[in-house]
């Protein structure tokens, strides 16, 4: 079986039996920021805690990445045969923030502002050792049909 590795150790819980995103919550004003950082951009406080974000939200806006990003830094396939367009959007997590994410859906006819989305883990590409590189993504609610 292929080994899976996270694209970063500090964005989401890994390993985990269900996907969980990590963020900073300001101890002064309650503002959330992703990814975890020191310093609150809202109130300028530097006191924060690490919290888990919600895993369901609504699609606030979206696009489709139609051409291969340059590698580096991109970790996915960039050849004309290997590259597959992917959706990108902001998902509004109630009471927390809007998070930017890859979307598992890339068909413009199936993406709509306001639709419900669920957090999933998704594969970006394969590293030099053959490991699958995993990151967080959002899928249309009810369609989290992978890993």
């Amino acid at each position: 079986m292929t080994t899976r590795v996270p694209v970063s150790e500090w964005l989401f819980r890994w390993p985990s039996d269900h996907p969980v995103l990590l963020a900073s919550r300001c101890l002064n004003c309650g503002n959330h920021v992703f990814p975890v950082q020191d310093g609150c951009p809202r109130c300028t406080s530097d006191a924060s805690e690490v919290v888990e974000l919600g895993s369901r939200g609504t699609l606030w806006t979206w696009t489709v990445q139609g051409f291969p990003p340059k590698a580096p830094p991109f970790l996915g396939a960039t050849s004309p045969e290997g590259f597959r367009p992917f959706g990108v959007g902001y998902v509004e997590l109630p009471g927390q923030l809007k998070i930017e994410a890859r979307l598992t859906e890339s068909d413009p006819d199936k993406l709509e502002i306001g639709m419900e989305m669920d957090l999933v883990y998704d594969v970006i590409g394969v590293d030099e050792q053959g490991n699958e590189i995993v990151t967080y993504a959002f899928a249309p609610a009810g369609q989290e049909g992978q890993s």
Binding site: F34, W62, T63, P73, Y90, L97, K98, I113, T135
Partner: protein, 380 residues
């Protein structure tokens, strides 16, 4: 601000110039600006240079002349030109110099900007395929179209206008007119934006010579006055490029803030502006920036653009030199290109693309990563 005049402009053609570095193009622009002002390098008392890609702009004194002048280098993303201009203008207003030069140049590799980020471990953002400015443009206009009813035809008409204007500009990169249908039929890069709706990183150089406004007529019969030069960063709650997360609440972005400050400094309003150069990294940006800079209400762009209001002969001509779409975007030079075009329009020297009716007030605007904007207001 009314104490600074632009008395010389110079430009190296935008596009791709094999065998010339970005700095070579900056040197050409500087020499042309000096010739336009009737000055020599030894007359310049203060210099500011802007370049994203480098090399360090002040090193060009080895070719322009080792006169010992103070030379400040500026890197401020897409606001590099605006910041360089403001820095030179401040030197004049403070009394430090009577005559100053601002030089911007760049030469970028082909294709979308390669953006690597992050000091904390691996570059997860770029690695995931999210570090692309093109995605932000697609996402911002997708939401805007949803909220305000802008059509894809209007996005295509913006590009059609840019290439038509570019075809009238000998300094432009893309000088072949394209029809609305050709724009719509080109490759879909980042929904809903197609290939010809996007500008490309490119090459070019621009230089401006500034002086104390009281002395401007000693140098030229047609000075242009810099009434405002403002740069702003983003506030909490704005929707910006390259942002892994956004706030739930919404505030105006840096464009609206810089614009308001600039109108206040200049003592004029948007209805006084006769010709505007607005950041058009892609078609959607020009549409949204029309409202963010105060030229219309959100959503009014649809009717305005369909009616031709932003054409050279229209009510408010926008991006008369073809904008970033037809000129490409060498970051250090791009904001100064807008000022250069404004000076040509105000002098009445814009040739085939001259706005009729003797424009009196010109406006320029840039926007860029990670959420910055620079605006200038210029008058005859």
């Amino acid at each position: 601000m009314s104490g600074v005049a632009i008395i010389g402009i110079g430009m190296h053609a935008f596009g791709r110039t094999e065998g010339m570095s970005g700095m070579d193009q900056g040197v050409v622009a500087a020499r042309r600006a000096l010739a336009d002002a009737g000055l020599r390098w030894s007359d310049i008392e203060f210099a500011v240079g802007g370049s994203m890609q480098g090399p360090q702009p002040d090193s060009m004194v080895s070719r322009l002349g080792l006169t010992g002048l103070p030379f400040t280098n500026v890197v401020n993303g897409c606001a590099t030109g605006g910041t360089a201009l403001a820095t030179a203008a401040n030197a004049i207003e403070s009394g430090r110099a009577d005559v100053a030069i601002t030089i911007g140049f760049d030469k970028h590799e082909r294709g979308a900007f390669r953006i690597s980020s992050d000091s904390k471990g691996p570059d997860w953002y770029g690695g995931s395929g999210l570090a692309l400015t093109t995605q932000f443009f697609g996402m911002k206009i997708t939401r805007y179209m949803h909220q305000y009813g802008i059509s894809q035809s209007t996005l295509a008409k913006v590009a059609e206008k840019a290439f038509r204007n570019g075809s009238l500009n000998p300094m432009a990169w893309r000088r072949k007119p394209l029809s609305e249908q050709e724009v719509l039929d080109s490759a879909m890069l980042s929904w809903p934006l197609t290939q010809y709706m996007f500008c490309s990183p490119g090459e070019g150089g621009v230089a401006l010579i500034l002086c104390d406004a009281k002395k401007a007529t000693q140098y030229t019969e047609h000075p242009v006055y810099l009434r405002a030069s403002v740069m702003r960063t983003r506030r909490y709650g704005s929707f910006e490029v390259l942002a892994p997360s956004l706030a739930l609440e919404h505030n105006d972005g840096p464009t609206a803030d810089a614009s308001r400050d600039a109108y206040e400094a200049a003592g004029i309003g948007p209805s006084d502006v006769d010709v505007a150069q607005l950041q058009d990294t892609e078609s959607g940006a020009e549409v949204m920036h029309m409202a963010e800079n105060g030229f219309c209400e959100h959503g009014e762009q649809e009717a305005m653009i369909q009616a031709g209001d932003t054409e050279i002969g229209g009510r408010l001509p926008i991006n008369t030199d073809g904008g970033c779409l037809a000129n490409g975007e060498p970051i250090g030079a791009s904001g100064l290109r807008q000022v250069c075009e404004s000076v040509l329009q105000l002098r009445g020297d814009a040739g085939e693309r001259q706005v009729p009716g003797h424009p009196q007030v010109a406006y320029t605007h840039v926007y860029g990563a990670p959420g910055i904007s620079a605006v200038t207001v210029l008058t005859r």
